[in-house]
């Protein structure tokens, strides 16, 4: 039994941040029912141009292990059907712009009417209230609003955009908040509306810099420097665009590094040493000497790594078409219960309606057919 066995989530989230939250919870055992429609599939299910390439770039990872049904929320019967689904769920999750769920007739009050102790997770760029709550946003904007991006980059350069990691950390933070709400429900019998503001997650990841600013300090971006650690940085390794990260904290480590490279470990000397060595071999040599180091890994290196495979961090997932691909599992290992992680690949749109509508909601074939013909299940 996985830890969240028995928990059901009606998942209205789209794009990345919200879906990643429910993706993690699905791997922990929750039954996640992803709700889309042919008219409005998740924008990331469709091919779209990313970095100049057209492709379904981001959907498979976060949709795996979920069930898929179609509901057309533009129709009143669709909203009613969504409520039936929420009524048999523990959690509803959404990532529309603030106010959209209310306008659909599926706001927290409406959902509580059909499920008294529902936990509603709302993930948005700026939160459910406040002067900017209507703002549209994606991952790079979250980092920009939250100051994390202003603090990232070279001292003499511009700020640096955050990418999918920003979306996904919002999702992982959200999963924690949902678990807290479930715990509260167990204690009190009460549901909750959990509101996660993505830009505030970015700020939380720079909380110490914000405190410094509150005290009158002026934190600035500083490239690869890290106060208190020296030497510290990314050094060239043997080969084209190969790099080695090294971080020295203690005098003993500094002495060990000096002994390894045969002299005072200044930037020039370290670079001369590292440039002549394979990044992975150099990292092993440094670790053996008690120095924190790691090669700057490309994705093929990560996908093939024995350590990550041993930990089941990297797993093979079978897609419906029979192909296999490497995927990243939920980042933890539990000593008890069934093994957590990805069970299935990407669901086809509406793939699990026999189970969800037939078994779970007890709808007859005639009832489903009528709703399909009226483009409610669509």
């Amino acid at each position: 039994m996985k830890p969240l066995h028995g928990i059901r989530i009606a998942d209205f989230t789209v794009h990345n941040a919200g879906p990643f939250a429910t993706h993690l919870l699905s791997q922990l055992g929750a039954e996640v029912i992803k709700i889309e429609s042919a008219m409005r599939p998740d924008a990331f299910r469709k091919p779209h141009p990313v970095y100049g390439r057209e492709g379904p770039a981001t959907f498979d990872q976060v949709a795996s292990t979920k069930l898929s049904v179609r509901i057309n929320l533009k129709k009143a019967e669709g909203v009613a059907l969504a409520k039936r689904l929420v009524a048999v769920s523990d959690i509803a999750a959404e990532s529309f712009r603030a106010g959209v769920l209310d306008r659909l007739g599926l706001g927290y009050a409406a959902l509580r009417d059909v499920k008294r102790d529902i936990v509603l997770l709302s993930v948005s760029s700026c939160g459910q209230d406040g002067p900017d709550s209507h703002f549209a946003g994606y991952a790079p904007l979250f980092g920009a609003w939250g100051a994390l991006s202003d603090l990232t980059g070279f001292a003499d350069g511009p700020p640096v955009e955050m990418r999918h990691v920003m979306d996904h950390t919002v999702g992982m933070h959200s999963a924690v908040a949902v678990m807290a709400a479930l715990a509260q429900r167990r204690m009190t019998g009460l549901g909750a509306h959990v509101d996660v503001a993505a830009r505030e997650v970015a700020s939380a990841l720079a909380g110490e810099a914000l405190l410094l600013a509150a005290a009158g300090g002026s934190p600035r971006r500083m490239g690869n420097l890290a106060e208190g650690l020296s030497p510290h940085g990314v050094y060239p390794a043997k080969g084209e665009d190969r790099w080695l990260s090294i971080a020295v904290r203690e005098d003993t480590e500094r002495a060990a590094l000096a002994a390894l490279i045969g002299g005072e470990p200044d930037e020039q000397a370290i670079s001369a040493w590292s440039r002549a060595r394979d990044a992975n071999e150099a990292a092993e040599t440094l670790q053996a000497a008690g120095i924190a180091a790691h090669a700057s890994w490309t994705t093929p290196e990560i996908a093939a790594d024995p350590h990550l495979r041993t930990r089941h961090t990297i797993v093979e997932v079978a897609e419906p078409d029979g192909t296999h691909r490497a995927a990243v599992g939920v980042p933890m290992r539990l000593s008890k219960g069934a093994e957590i992680g990805i069970d299935r690949g990407t669901p086809r749109l509406g793939e699990h309606e026999d189970y969800v509508y037939g078994e779970l909601l007890g709808m007859t074939k005639g009832e489903r057919k009528a709703l399909e013909e009226s483009e409610v299940i669509y």
């Binding site: 922990l28 603090l151 640096v160 955009e161 709400a181 909750a192 350590h307 930990r311 490497a326 219960g337």
Partner: protein, 367 residues
């Protein structure tokens, strides 16, 4: 009846590094009673930069330990009341302290024992050291940054790290999630051991690079740039611009004043726009360079164009939106006085969470 989400939960944290402390901080902010168990000289984070101006108070420690209590001693002696124990002691040192997996399971069978290490407690690299920069590069995102404007300006420079302790904090979030998941299952499964690696957590949030590998694309920081938009310099700062949907492009064209170049039929679809991205960006950059950030963001968002100001920390602190949201709370920071501290990105039932207080003084219970 507890009035905070985790009001009934008791947690002990034994942390040298950011990951374990951030896990404890999240749980404390959600209402758990969190006790930091420190060695007599105080936990290492107390001596970790940056320091608050004119003081020896670590801003990092103050932020991470806010809302926690503190005791000193061996954590093994402070677990009687705890339901969750979060520990980042290196594996090789645990047995001597009596806090290895087997010893804890024997002494406290109902405890959720969460191990948080750079590379985890299991696997060939479980003994490896890892500071933030190493973890960022071991989990993929290190190689993929910077991007966009920075790579244009500095093509020959090495990758650059994300500010602060991003990957370690992901380890902390994963630890909090693992802890609460195991706690949820405790009535059926009892206590258990949760093994978290910051590398794994960093990789999880960077998972799309692995997916794209399966799709046949090896990501690289130079190619991983939006073809237009991105970091745009205005007269008084930077904005971020990202249009993914047609209606957002339409809004952008309107924002730019419907210039003639934008009416080229070749730019009617996203593929054509991607192909001519650099050219589009030249127009956007020239337009933005003479305008103010606030005007660009306000007028763009009115047209549903995703645009955001690159806020400095001071600007976040002064931001009316965040003031409305209650993102900051004034707490007492020993040695530095009352300061505005970020609370949490979560609201429950329409209200922000609250910090129980600032960071604890050392040996607080005897003060």
């Amino acid at each position: 009846m507890p009035d905070t989400p985790l009001g009934s939960l008791k947690v002990a944290v034994h942390a040298r590094g950011v990951a374990a402390a951030y896990a404890g901080r999240m749980l404390a902010t959600l209402g758990a009673t969190v006790t930091l168990v420190e060695p007599p000289e105080g936990c290492a984070l107390r001596r970790e930069p940056p320091f608050l101006p004119g003081s020896e108070v670590s801003a990092l420690f103050a932020y991470l330990a806010a809302g926690m209590a503190s005791v000193t001693g061996n954590p093994r002696d402070h677990l009687a009341e705890a339901v969750i124990f979060i520990d980042d002691t290196p594996l090789a040192e645990r047995e001597a302290l009596g806090i290895d997996e087997a010893a804890i399971a024997a002494a406290y069978p109902g405890l959720i024992h969460v191990s948080v290490l750079p590379f985890g407690a299991f696997g060939p690299k479980s003994g490896w050291k890892g500071e933030e920069i190493n973890l960022l590069h071991a989990s993929g995102e290190g190689y993929l940054l910077p991007n966009g404007l920075t790579t244009e300006l500095f093509p020959g420079r090495p990758p650059v790290k994300i500010h602060g302790h991003f990957t370690e904090m992901q380890g902390g979030v994963a630890a909090a999630l693992g802890a609460l998941s195991a706690w949820w299952a405790r009535p059926e499964l009892g206590g258990q051991y949760v093994d978290v690696a910051s590398q794994d957590a960093g990789l999880a949030v960077g998972a799309f690079a692995i997916q794209r590998l399966g799709d046949g694309s090896v990501e690289h920081r130079v190619e991983r740039s939006f073809r237009f938009g991105g970091v745009i310099e205005c007269a008084d700062g930077f904005v971020e611009l990202l249009t993914l949907e047609q209606r957002q492009w339409d809004g952008l064209v309107d924002l730019l004043g419907n210039p003639e170049w934008a009416s080229d039929p070749d730019l009617a679809d996203s593929v054509g726009r991607s192909r001519r991205g650099p050219e589009i960006n030249q127009h956007i950059r020239a337009w933005a360079k003479v305008r103010r950030v606030d005007d660009v963001v306000r007028e763009g968002q009115q047209r549903s164009v995703p645009l955001a100001r690159y806020y400095t920390p001071a600007e976040v602190l002064a931001d009316p939106h965040e003031a409305h949201r209650g993102l900051f709370q004034t707490v007492e920071v020993p040695g530095a006085g009352p300061l505005d501290m970020l609370v949490s990105p979560f609201h429950f039932d329409g209200a922000p969470l609250t910090l129980a207080g600032g960071p604890p003084s050392l040996q607080e219970e005897e003060a």
